[in-house]
């Protein structure tokens, strides 16, 4: 912008050139049309009636000044200067005829049109910015309530998936070897060995359950421990090593070492019972 809004055309003629008449801030201009528009406004007349000759002179003088001040001017400004100098010469010369292209009149009209158009858009821009703006003059809901999304799965599977799944299952099952799951059992021999060890310590009637209790490691073992122990006890009784006693059906079973026949007990030590495997 030009400081002091100086009508510099007049001033420049009077002032010495060593003394800068203008403070030129070419950065402030949005291009040569902007500069021309500013100069035209200083003529304070309707853009349609401005003297293009005078306007061209002002522009060229301005550019001269700027160059004297060694200001870097963008190419756009210089192109416009050249064009205006040409326009000026065409306007000053009587129509020589034979010159190709648009007439000087047309060129002047085109420039005036462009200036008017730029000014019109400037005006439109101002009016646009005068409008109330969202977030400044009017506001949207500060705390909108989000729409909750209910996600419903849509299941997908293909017929091929279905058929391969069916065929494979049936086939695997049909071709599988029959295998019994291995079950953890307490063999009679193990039961007997354990009981014989326990009987050595127990002289009084004891509950069979109590002997077993230390073997009830996990519930799955309960039936096999119980069955094998009971069978072993019966065997020990038959051999005369132990005595058992139960005073009514389903009551706890008591057992103790048989006191009298040491020899028989001795015989039985180390004997291995038949290995029965619970199925």
């Amino acid at each position: 912008m030009i400081a002091g809004d100086v009508p510099f055309e007049a001033d420049l003629a009077e002032r010495g050139t060593d003394e800068p008449a203008l403070v030129v801030d070419v950065e402030g201009f949005e291009g040569p049309l902007d500069l021309l528009l500013m100069l035209a406004r200083q003529q304070k007349v309707d853009l349609a009636k401005i003297s293009l000759l005078a306007l061209a002179d002002q522009y060229l003088t301005f550019i001269e000044e700027a160059r004297k001040l060694r200001l870097e001017l963008a190419a756009d400004y210089l192109v416009m200067a050249a064009w205006l100098a040409y326009l000026k010469s065409r306007l000053l010369l009587p129509d020589a005829g034979g010159i190709e292209g648009p007439s000087a009149e047309d060129m002047a009209t085109a420039l005036a049109y462009r200036l008017r158009r730029l000014e019109a858009f400037r005006h439109a821009a101002e009016r646009l910015l005068e409008r109330p703006q969202l977030g400044r003059d009017f506001h949207e809901r500060g705390d909108p309530e989000p729409i909750a999304e209910i996600r419903r799965p849509q299941w997908t599977a293909t017929l091929y998936d279905l058929l391969t799944a069916y065929a494979q299952q049936r086939q695997n099952k049909a071709l599988a070897h029959v295998r019994f799951a291995k079950r953890t059992v307490w063999s009679l021999a193990e039961a007997r060995a354990a009981l014989e060890r326990l009987l050595g310590q127990a002289q009084d009637w004891s509950r069979l359950d109590e002997y077993l209790i230390s073997y009830l490691v996990e519930p799955a073992m309960r039936p096999t421990v119980f069955a094998s122990s009971f069978a072993s006890v019966l065997e020990l009784v038959r051999e005369g090593v132990a005595e058992i006693h139960q005073h009514e059906p389903f009551a706890p079973i008591y057992m103790r070492k048989r006191m009298v026949a040491d020899d028989i007990a001795g015989d039985s030590v180390g004997r291995t019972g038949p290995r029965a495997v619970e199925g």
């Binding site: 909750a148 999304e149 299941w155 599977a157 391969t164 494979q168 299952q169």
Partner: protein, 236 residues
């Protein structure tokens, strides 16, 4: 309907006119402040932003009364004020969206057994699959709408029998259930290989909704609850 709506519009316009004459400016101010605010405002904050002398409490009461019958209400939240959607309209603010999901391997396998062997109980599915099925697998299949409980087997425990639905047919592009390939077709397509033991058979599936001789109808409560056999019956 349009004429009724038009009449209503006229009524509303009249109301508006009469309201704009009597409605004090403070209401507009508080309305705008609460609408634009990102969080509920307390009375002190409101008073500080309003011209001096505005009786905030009264204005708020009036606004609350005005908005009470509307789709948006003025509510107190922890001693502060905010506009909120009327609570009876919360259904409006939900949106269904559909997310495609692939069925798990176990679910597809179970589905295949149900399709071929229906009506079939869970225990029977497990027997055919040779795996004890997770309860969740059948639940997923019920959720797909491809499998339905159809009755109860006349057997100890009265287990529920399952079958496929029309949605099953339409999803898999089957016109009828017997379009499912039989033994020869499964062999022919290479899905079953030739090394099958003698006597191996694939049933001819049927989704005839009529109950079989060994099926009882479901009781109404089966459809609401988790489909567990009613305890009283199960004990018999």
């Amino acid at each position: 309907m349009p004429s009724v709506a038009k009449r209503r519009l006229v009524i509303a316009a009249d109301e508006v006119e009469s309201m704009s004459e009597t409605r004090p400016e403070e209401l507009r101010l508080v309305e705008a402040l609460l609408f634009a605010s990102a969080e509920p405002l307390d009375e002190k904050t409101l008073a500080a932003r309003l011209p001096q002398g505005v009786d905030v409490k009264t204005v708020l009461q009036q606004l609350q009364a005005e908005y009470a019958p509307r789709g948006v209400n003025l509510v107190r939240v922890a001693g502060k004020w905010a506009f909120r959607t009327a609570s009876d309209l919360s259904w409006l603010l939900t949106k269904d969206s559909v997310v495609p999901r692939k069925l798990s391997r176990a679910a597809i396998e179970t589905l295949a057994i149900v399709a071929y062997h229906q009506p079939v109980t869970r225990a029977e599915v497990e027997e055919i699959r040779g795996i004890s099925a997770a309860k969740g697998t059948l639940d997923v299949l019920l959720e797909t709408g491809w499998v339905r409980p159809r009755g109860r087997r006349k057997a100890p425990g009265r287990p529920v029998t399952y079958g496929t639905t029309e949605a099953f047919l339409s999803h898999f592009g089957l016109e009828a259930l017997d379009d499912l390939p039989g033994l020869d077709e499964l062999k022919g397509s290479g899905l079953l290989d030739g090394r099958l033991p003698p006597g191996f058979s694939v049933p001819t599936p049927s989704d005839d909704p009529a109950l079989r001789d060994d099926e009882d109808p479901l009781e109404p409560e089966d459809l609401d609850l988790g489909l567990a056999p009613p305890p009283s019956r199960a004990e018999k």
